[in-house]
């Protein structure tokens, strides 16, 4: 009888130990960010990736003023394609070549299409939407390099009033 009790106690002790060990194993394997990894090699490229967007003086945003709600090839205000005056310039003030892109923060209305190009002929124009787009002329811009921003919009039965979302380019 006494041996039975001892055996039962031993079994209980064993089960408890196994249970505790299992719990500890689970806890040990649980994801926690407490150990720094051992880094064998670390180096960095001292590249400066700065750039600046400068827009035409009198403007505070990219805005369009179409003559009617289905006007086409409407230039951004302040821009003048025929005189080669861009809406904005992108300057690569860093020390490495860079590609630049642009996107809208919110979807445009389906009745408005916005195009951006790096030159007044709009030859490399891209349709601006919520994904990042790069006109060809904005790629591989060297340090101190300057590329231009030309913008045009097509309207198709666009609703009246100001649509801030569509022109929310900066």
């Amino acid at each position: 009888m006494k041996n039975m009790k001892i055996r039962n106690l031993a079994v209980m002790f064993l089960l408890t130990s196994v249970s505790i060990m299992a719990t500890m194993a689970i806890l040990a394997s649980a994801y926690s960010a407490t150990q720094p990894a051992t880094i064998d090699v670390y180096y960095y490229v001292p590249g400066d990736t700065s750039f600046t967007i400068a827009i035409i003086g009198g403007q505070t945003s990219m805005s369009f003023n179409p003559s009617n709600n289905s006007a086409k090839l409407v230039e951004a205000q302040g821009q003048n394609i025929s005189q080669g005056i861009s809406w904005g310039n992108i300057t690569n003030s860093g020390n490495m070549a860079q590609n630049f892109s642009v996107n809208l923060s919110q979807s445009n209305l389906p009745s408005i299409n916005l195009y951006v190009s790096s030159n007044p002929s709009m030859s490399d124009q891209v349709t601006v939407d919520t994904t990042q787009k790069t006109p060809a002329g904005w790629a591989n811009v060297n340090p101190n390099g300057l590329v231009q921003i030309y913008a045009r919009a097509n309207f198709t039965n666009a609703p009246g009033g100001t649509n801030n979302n569509s022109m929310y380019i900066y």
Binding site: T38, V41, Y44, G47, T49, F51, T52, G94, N95, Y170
Partner: protein, 262 residues
């Protein structure tokens, strides 16, 4: 007659004194604007700056504002020219990171282990606005947990001067030290993992918050330089205290992290 001469002398002294005060005040003001940049220069600043630019100084975490809030700490500063500022254009947005790329080789990157990555993010040169920007790092592999601190910032202008602004104990600078912590969610298989820092505009509440703080900053502005016919003083006034959502124009190499696991 003697009294008249004395009075004239005192009057002259007063005029000279007042003139000197008026000459000194603008300089004091300018010094205040560049307080962090021009004062508290650490004795080893030049050496640290040199070694960071050579890519051999690894203790970026321990660099204080006395280092990274000095404009000439960054290569972009020497690349730009404030003296030839084009007043017909308005610097509305622009930012960058320095260093622009960091690489790590790790043996056995196991679950729970992490690495801390540091870089400096800053406003571009000649930017006249306050820019709110949200930062993000995508992990397509889903193997890592990535935390960015700070992940939302408001950059202060770099033109006409750089200054730290405080609104209700909230401090805004033109440059920030950024910490990115990358933690392994499981044992990472051998391979090369690349992460890119992306930008978006801040959420709407943050935008409103920043906008209100910009309205409250104590900011002096600039006048058009004499003889600069491109500069319109009325337009310059409209450029004062402007908040913009930055991050819609991007540079593809803003900041890249490469982790090689062996």
């Amino acid at each position: 007659m003697k009294i008249s001469k004395a009075a004239i002398s005192i009057l002259l002294l007063l005029v000279v004194g007042i003139s000197v005060i008026f000459l000194i005040i603008p300089k004091l003001e300018e010094k205040e604007h560049n307080k962090i940049s021009d004062q508290n220069i650490p004795p080893d600043y030049i050496l640290i700056k040199r070694d960071v630019q050579r890519g051999i100084f690894y203790d970026l975490n321990n660099l204080t504002k006395d280092y990274y809030l000095r404009a000439d700490f960054y290569p972009s500063y020497s690349n730009s020219s404030e003296s030839s500022h084009d007043y017909s254009r308005w610097g509305i947005e622009g930012y960058g990171a320095y260093p622009g790329e960091e690489s790590f080789t790790i043996q056995n990157f196991t679950e729970g282990q992490y690495i801390n990555v540091y870089t400096f993010v800053k406003a571009g040169e000649n930017v006249e606005t306050f820019q709110g920007i949200k930062f993000n790092v995508e992990d397509d592999t889903k193997l890592f947990d990535i935390k960015i601190n700070p992940d939302i910032v408001m950059f202060t202008p770099t033109f006409p001067y750089r200054k730290e602004y405080t609104v209700d104990n909230r401090v805004y600078d033109w440059a920030y030290k950024m910490n990115i912590t990358i933690t392994a969610k499981e044992n990472i298989p051998s391979g090369t993992y690349k992460f890119k820092l992306d930008t978006t505009i801040p959420d709407e509440n943050t935008q409103k918050f920043y906008y209100e703080d910009v309205r409250r900053v104590n900011l002096s502005w600039y006048d058009c330089p004499k003889n600069d016919i491109k500069c319109d003083k009325n337009i310059v006034e409209l450029r004062k205290k402007v908040y913009v959502n930055g991050g819609q124009f991007q540079a593809d190499k803003l900041f890249t992290i490469i982790i090689v696991v062996k």
